[in-house]
């Protein structure tokens, strides 16, 4: 059996199906042989017995036919002595003879049958002999003989026919008995064959069942176990199978392969577990080049190791690490890169914040130092103020005295102010007069200017006259020239006229220049008068303002007289108020001492804050961005 187990599955299957095939072949062969036997038995039956029955039947038919023929011949009384019928009758008799011989040879082995047949032969021979006589009687045509023959036919021959008939029946019955015997034999054979077939089938079925059970045990059960194992592996269970089949067939190989797969997977799983536990030093090596899972594991380990290296750098404070995600779907890489970016930004913000904090704490420290100093100074100042207040109190008493003397002085000043006011009013009147006179002067000068303008017009007229005189002189000289020698004296006069005209023109131009200068002087005078008038106006306004100022001074002097009275009273009140101030200053002194203490504490706190800022700064310096 062990050898069978080590056969390959194909061989097992071939063996099983071969056995079944052989069984089927045996059953088929035995069935075919039985059928052949049956067929031969049938053939024998037919050959032996049916032929004999047929022969017997033929013999009987021929007997009947010959009886009928002879009876016909006898009845016709020899009239119809037909050769043809006789011939037929002989023919039939010969057939029967040969059939009888045949039957006898066939039934030599059966004595009973042979006896019947021999009797039949005897009876027949007697019958034929009688019939021969009858035929002779017919052929002779002798009526007596014929009648004798007829009687023979009715009596003797009829008995013989009957005898033959019964003998034939006997033979037929014997034959039928043989047939029944033969049939019995056949049915026995059939029954035997059936039982044989049944037995063979049952045997084959049992054998097949045994094979199925064996194959089931050999193949299906281990495969089912492996399948279950595979399903459990598929569900993630990686149980180490202790029972590994040592069989050398496929099931054994499959089982060993499964075992290897399980151990491979469990090795990977334990590695993954270690990775999950954070151990990344163990470099997983792929089993072969085609070990996709192993190389993926190795890649994952490398990737995680790289990331952990970066993380270690980041942990060490080096934020300059550049993490490039492997792909767009590299969630861890992207998250890591984002984390590094955020950390970098955070560190930068922290750094700037800490800088600000350090600066601020520095400032606070210096401020608190200042405040402390100030508080100290305040305390000193408060002491000074207290003494000052004492002095002020004394001074206030003196002020009260001074205020009384001032009141008297103010009243005197008010009288002086009254006099000043009157003087200003007189000044104003005078100024008004001066202003009017200046306007008169200006009017006169403008009139003078108008006169000189008139003189200018006169000069222009004279100039025109001189021009015309000049032309007149020229025309006269022309006329004189035309007159020739006669006009010579006139020519001289004309020349003189012309000369005079030119002199007049020169005079007028001089006069015109003088007039221009006069006009300029007049303009200057008018402008001067105007400026004087304006100056007088200004003086008048100034004097008015002075009057108002003196009036205000007067009023304020009166007011100050009253005020100094009030001051005297107020100084008295001040003395009392100063007493209260002294009390308040004592309170302030206490408060400022408290302030000094509080400021010391604040200074200490600022110092701590500054220290913290420096520490943070030094820690932040360990981060490289």
């Amino acid at each position: 059996m062990e050898r069978l187990e080590h056969l390959t599955t194909r061989s097992k299957l071939l063996l099983s199906f071969g056995v079944v095939f052989l069984l089927l072949l045996a059953v088929s062969w035995s069935s075919a042989r039985s059928l052949q036997q049956l067929q031969s038995a049938q053939q024998r039956l037919y050959d032996t017995y049916v032929a004999q029955l047929l022969s017997l039947k033929n013999i009987r038919i021929n007997l009947n036919s010959n009886r009928a023929d002879i009876l016909q011949l006898l009845m016709s009384n020899g009239i119809s002595n037909d050769e043809k019928i006789q011939q037929r009758m002989y023919q039939r008799g010969q057939d029967d003879e040969s059939a009888m011989q045949q039957l006898i040879t066939n039934n030599v082995a059966r004595p009973q049958m042979l006896a019947v047949l021999n009797r039949m032969v005897d009876v027949r021979h007697q019958y034929q002999a009688v019939r021969e006589r009858q035929l002779q009687a017919i052929r002779s045509g002798d009526s007596q003989a014929l009648e004798q023959a007829q009687t023979l036919a009715v009596e003797e021959q009829a008995q013989r026919v009957e005898q033959l008939r019964s003998l034939a029946d006997q033979a037929s019955q014997l034959i039928e008995q043989n047939v029944a015997l033969l049939q019995q034999q056949s049915s026995d054979t059939l029954q035997r064959q059936e039982s044989l077939l049944l037995g063979t089938a049952v045997l084959a079925a049992l054998l097949i069942i045994a094979l199925v059970i064996w194959l089931n045990r050999q193949l299906a059960l281990p495969l089912a176990a492996l399948t279950q194992w595979a399903q459990r592996i598929a569900q993630g269970e990686l149980l180490q199978s202790t029972a590994v089949s040592q069989r050398r067939d496929e099931v054994g190989q499959l089982s060993r392969a499964f075992y290897q797969m399980g151990s491979y997977l469990s090795a990977l799983a334990s590695q993954a577990e270690r990775i999950a536990g954070g151990e990344l030093e163990l470099a997983a090596k792929p089993v072969s080049e085609r070990d996709l899972l192993g190389s993926a594991f190795a890649g994952m380990t490398r990737y995680l190791a790289a990331l952990s290296g970066s993380a270690a750098q980041i942990a060490g404070g080096d934020l300059t690490v550049v993490i490039a995600p492997r792909s767009e779907r590299d969630v861890l890489g992207t998250a890591f890169a984002a984390m590094v970016g955020n950390l970098r930004e955070l560190v930068q913000q922290l750094r700037s914040g800490i800088d600000v904090l350090a600066d601020a704490s520095q400032e606070i420290l210096s401020m608190t130092a200042q405040v402390a100093a100030s508080a100290q100074e305040t305390s000193v100042s408060v002491n000074e103020i207290s003494t000052t207040v004492e002095e002020v109190k004394q001074t206030a008493g003196q002020a009260s005295e001074r205020a009384r003397t001032m009141t008297a002085a103010a009243q005197q000043a008010a009288q002086v102010g009254q006099q000043g006011k009157q003087a200003v009013e007189v000044t104003l009147e005078r100024m008004q007069q001066i202003r009017e006179q200046m306007q008169d002067v200006a009017d006169s000068i403008v009139q003078l200017s108008e006169r000189s303008q008139a003189i200018g017009e006169v000069v222009t007229t004279v100039n025109g006259l001189a021009e015309q005189s000049n032309l007149l002189g020229v025309n006269a000289s022309i006329e004189a020239a035309k007159a020739g020698e006669v006009g010579r004296g006139f020519s001289v006069v004309a020349q003189e006229v012309k000369l005079l005209a030119e002199q007049s023109k020169q005079a007028t131009s001089q006069a015109r220049a003088l007039l221009g200068e006069t006009q300029k002087a007049v303009n200057r005078a008018v402008m001067t008068a105007e400026q004087s008038s304006k100056a007088v106006d200004k003086g008048y306004q100034q004097a008015s303002l002075s009057g108002g100022a003196i009036q205000q001074l007067l009023e304020s002097l009166q007011g100050s007289s009253a005020a100094s009275l009030q001051i005297a009273a107020a100084s008295q009140q001040q003395v009392q108020g100063m007493d209260q101030v002294v009390i308040a200053m004592t309170n302030i002194r206490k408060a400022s001492e408290d302030n000094v203490a509080g400021t010391r504490q604040a200074e200490q706190a600022a110092l701590n804050l500054h220290e913290l800022g420096r520490k943070l700064m030094s820690q932040m310096a360990s981060f490289k961005v």
Binding site: L471, V474, A481, S491, V493, L500
Partner: protein, 195 residues
């Protein structure tokens, strides 16, 4: 200004005014005129008996020209010159002289001399030969003079002198003596332009 200096100032002013009024009273126009009359009435002396020619002298663009007075009708001041359209540039316009319309010729443009703006003293010399009559514009009129005939030289021949043909001669002082007959007979001055 202090009061004392103000007083002195006013005093000086008053004195000057008195002096002025006195001077006004002494200036007598009749006496001046009488003196001039006496001077004019004095007889002419030592006239040499040489051939002389009378010339009417005038200035034009800084140069002096002379004309024989025989074709000069009279000299009138230039007043109310009316420009006439469709005339050559040297016809300045027309003026009314004693009820007649006389065209005024600008010799500066006619002779293509440098132009100078019109001054107040412009005068017009009226020329006429009985058929033709027009006025010559001049800058300054210098009056008539008699020159000895031998002082007059023939005109200098220059190439491209626009005045060639219109000059009779040149005096010793380089006055150009214009020929009034030629000017009056010049067909260029007869303007008949149709528009």
């Amino acid at each position: 200004m202090s009061t004392t200096t103000g007083e002195e100032h006013w005093l000086v002013l008053r004195q000057r005014l008195d002096q002025l009024s006195r001077m006004q009273e002494t200036a007598d126009p009749d006496a001046v005129l009488a003196q001039r009359a006496r001077q004019l009435a004095a007889p002419l002396q030592d006239e040499e008996q040489v051939a002389r020619v009378a010339l009417l002298v005038f200035e034009l663009s800084g140069e002096r020209y002379a004309l024989s007075p025989y074709r000069v009708v009279e000299v009138v001041p230039l007043r109310q010159l009316t420009p006439v359209p469709c005339t050559p540039g040297y016809i300045l316009g027309v003026v009314a002289v004693r009820g007649r319309l006389v065209s005024v010729l600008d010799l500066r443009q006619f002779f293509e001399l440098p132009l100078r703006s019109l001054s107040e003293r412009n005068s017009v010399i009226l020329l006429s030969d009985g058929r033709m009559e027009f006025g010559l514009l001049c800058d300054t009129l210098c009056g008539t003079q008699e020159l000895p005939l031998e002082q007059i030289l023939p005109p200098l021949r220059h190439r491209h002198d626009s005045r060639e043909g219109y000059l009779l001669g040149v005096t010793a002082e380089h006055w150009a003596i214009l020929d009034a007959e030629v000017l009056l007979g010049d067909p260029r001055l007869v303007v008949n332009q149709q528009v």
